[in-house]
Amino acid sequence: MLSGLIWIPVLGAILVAFWPQTLASHRYRTLALIFAVITLGLSVVLSSQFIQLEPGQQFQEALPWLDNLGLTYRLGVDGLSLPLVLMNCLLTGVAIYSSDEEIRRPRLYYGLLLLLSAAVTGAFLAQNLLLFFLFYEVELIPLYLLIAIWGGARRGYAATKFLIYTAISGVLVLASYFGLAWLSGSFNFDYETVIAHTLPMGQQVVLLSLLLVGFGIKVPLFPFHTWLPDAHVEASTPMSVMLAGVLLKLGTYGLLRFGYGLFPDAWQVIAPWLASWAVVSVLYGALAAIAQTDMKKMVAYSSIAHMGYVLLAMAAATPLSLVGTLMQMISHGLISAMLFLLVGVVYSKAGSRDLNVVRGLLNPERGLPLIGTLMIVGVMASAGIPGMVGFIAEFVVFRGSFPVFPVQTLLCMVGTGLTAVYFLLLMNRAFFGRLSEAVENLPPVTWRDRAPAIFLAVLIVVLGIQPNWLTTWGETTITALAPVSTTVVVKATPIPEVVDPTEKLLKESLLTSSAAIALEEN
């Protein structure tokens, strides 16, 4: 079943790419969308059969491939990767749906888009380090081409920069994997085997550092972020949706799965540094966003800030904060995808994203009132207003991280305040006031333009009100990932049995904090 998630889009990509050039451009989109919907349907079926209380890998598939190299085709899904796979399938559909009907070279475009989706799913499902690396690298090619061919004026520069940065990221990740194999003396790269290795602390720290920089580029974290704003600004709207919604998550997923998963001891040693790194990333991203006048760049820098929260929660590594990482990844994926979609509509209608040019877009008849309203919903969600998924994700991140890194958490919370600052600046400049002369006669917005953002807005609100639906798959897996301190916790205070998962999470977080206090006392 897992192979289907990878190979159905690949099949779709091949079919679309080699279909005779007889159809109108939008027909290829329909064809691509059919494959995206089938894959999404399959992922939903998979979710319905997923056993939530089972922490390990499920639906495992294994085929021998290049055994001499330690490369096997081994797939599996657990509570961490399942939600990300679902989000990838969902946003692929959104990206295809929101692509321009009359796009140039549609067969190549939709083929590459489906290939990108397949590679990302493959990376989330891979249970062999080299297989993960392969998928991790394969997704670069379609994305590079998608930016380089269908991007903006400086697309060549942005695509090349993206490629160089992320290729270096891949090299560092691969170096870490090879280092692990070399130092442990085993060239079996299956995750289950590798995770059993124990290395001296010094070696762990070195290998982990390679992974941190490698995945840190992908996330991206300061100071490895500079490729992201350029890539976003030059990428078309659907590419920005994929980039912010899914591609960045490969970085955080990699950090959690391989950085934290393979080197938990070294992780604990450098965790305070990671938390401080998160603070720098959050505050830098937020302050840089304030300085932007390009709406898309502002949202891009906001991504850097919001991904910093994920690193903070990972550094704290409490059961609650680790649940928070997953929640924040999903939350950011949905919210940033929605914001990029809306900025895309503004750009396509007004012809500019410059906050010095575009004003008064909430004008009821000549502006973009519904798009503006959705933008308000989006920025409120991003700024963590209660009732939306952004709030609960950030709340769980901060609640989980505060007992371990109180100062860093408080500084990151300043970042959420700054989110409100830059997004209010955006709203105030672009949407309030009199419609500027330059954009007085905008073309009409169709329901097709609005539909994807409305869909994501509904999802953001529903998951904000019912966050259990978000945590239900990942909770068991992530709790099992939680560090050894749980044993200390159990000794410190016995956990009474609770049924409600939310209550359980809160209790665990309370206990972790009491454990931290107990450890400090010792």
Binding site: G360, N363, P364, E365, R366, R434, L435, E440, N441, L442, P443, P444
Partner: protein, 380 residues
């Protein structure tokens, strides 16, 4: 020998001075403008008919009613009408009241003077006594707040006068549309001439107001007060609604303390000729109400023009407002020409100079208006 050739005006809006001197209108003459102006005045005429009837109904039949719940029903209260009202299937009579209050606030003409005269107060007292007799609630209200009821009657007088004014205007605009349909009107100059002729014809029509209380008729504005249509309703109306107006809430943020609103009412420039059509469609602003009413009665030829626009039906009310503004420049042209100190075709250089000075004074008022914007061809 004294030259009879007049030198060109040096006014920044000299182009429009010369246009008016040549017998043309403030609005450029072209086919689209004619269609827009006549079409919009037709729908305006239909709406004004409803407004006029309701204003007169309120003045006559809701006289000093403390709780006029059904004042917009024109005496026909039924469940069906109430349901349609709640479903917003109705005319926005609130707009008419907004205009009435704006007129009352700015005053002007002899009506304003009359309503402050002892004669009016005496007549008001008489009708108040008749109305409040055996009504302890209203009579005690009058005892504690003696200025309250006279002010209400002043306001009701404005209801009546505006109702009478719009009655004439409504008929004039419908007649214009009928003449256009008969191909008797084909240019902007002919539109202006039609309006001017109708204003002149109704100029001396008396403004009167009488109410019946308990079977007896009381004159509030008698014919003997000498109030007439042109000087006491039309001229103050043009000055108030076309030029001064009021800052519409919600369209722009005005900060009175920062002197963004003039201290003196006669310096206001918030009237229809100055209004920015873009905020139309926003909730809570009076022009939206008028445009919303007019959109129901657009003639097909005008509707088709609007549908050809980039946004089609989406920005209909803004387009209606733009056409409406054009039409109001035509009505203003008629008013300016009707009030000219000397005939337009006079040969006397002194009279021509006097006309020039008169027109340039009007142009001073147009400096910040949308006169030049409405004359930009194919703006949208």
């Amino acid at each position: 020998m004294v030259s009879t050739i007049q030198q060109p005006s040096n006014h920044p809006l000299a182009e429009y001075v010369h246009r008016l001197e040549a017998g043309e209108a403030l609005l450029a003459n072209n086919q689209i403008n004619v269609l827009e102006v006549v079409g919009i005045l037709k729908s305006y005429g239909i709406v004004l008919d409803a407004y006029s009837k309701n204003l007169i109904y309120i003045a006559d039949h809701q006289f000093l009613e403390l709780f006029p719940f059904f004042k917009y029903f024109n005496g026909e209260v039924s469940l069906g009408k109430l349901l349609r009202f709640w479903n917003h299937d109705r005319i926005n009579y609130e707009y008419a009241e907004y205009v009435m209050k704006t007129m009352m606030w700015h005053g002007g003409g002899d009506l304003d003077t009359y309503l402050d005269s002892p004669e009016f107060l005496e007549r008001a007292q008489r009708v108040m006594q008749a109305k409040t007799k055996n009504n302890w609630l209203v009579s005690s209200l009058q005892r504690f707040f003696p200025d309250f009821l006279p002010e209400q009657i002043r306001q009701l007088a404005y209801y009546k006068v505006l109702g009478q004014f719009w009655r004439v205007m409504s008929d004039m605009f419908i007649d214009l549309s009928d003449r256009f349909d008969r191909k008797e009107i084909q240019s902007i100059a002919e539109v202006v001439q039609h309006v001017q002729d109708a204003l002149v014809a109704a100029a001396s029509q008396p403004l009167v107001y009488a109410v019946e209380v308990k079977g007896q008729v009381y004159d509030i504005i008698p014919e003997s007060a000498g109030l007439t249509f042109l000087m006491d309703a039309a001229v103050p109306y043009v000055d108030t609604i076309f030029f001064r107006g009021t800052p519409f809430l919600g369209t722009v943020s005005y900060n009175a303390q920062a002197q963004q609103i003039p201290v003196f009412q006669d310096q206001f420039t918030y009237g229809a000729l100055y209004a920015d059509p873009l905020p139309i469609g926003g909730a809570g602003i009076p022009p939206t109400l008028l445009m919303q009413d007019m959109r129901h009665f657009l003639p097909d030829y005008l509707h088709e023009i609007y549908q050809r626009g980039l946004r089609g039906e989406d920005d209909l009310r803004v387009k209606i407002c733009e056409s409406f503004q054009k039409s109001m420049f035509c009505v203003t042209t008629a008013a300016i020409r009707g009030l000219m100190p000397h005939p337009l075709d006079t040969e006397d250089p002194k009279q021509r100079q006097a006309n020039r000075v008169y027109l340039e004074k009007w142009m001073d008022r147009f400096m910040t208006s949308r006169l030049q914007i409405v004359n930009v061809p194919d703006r949208y």
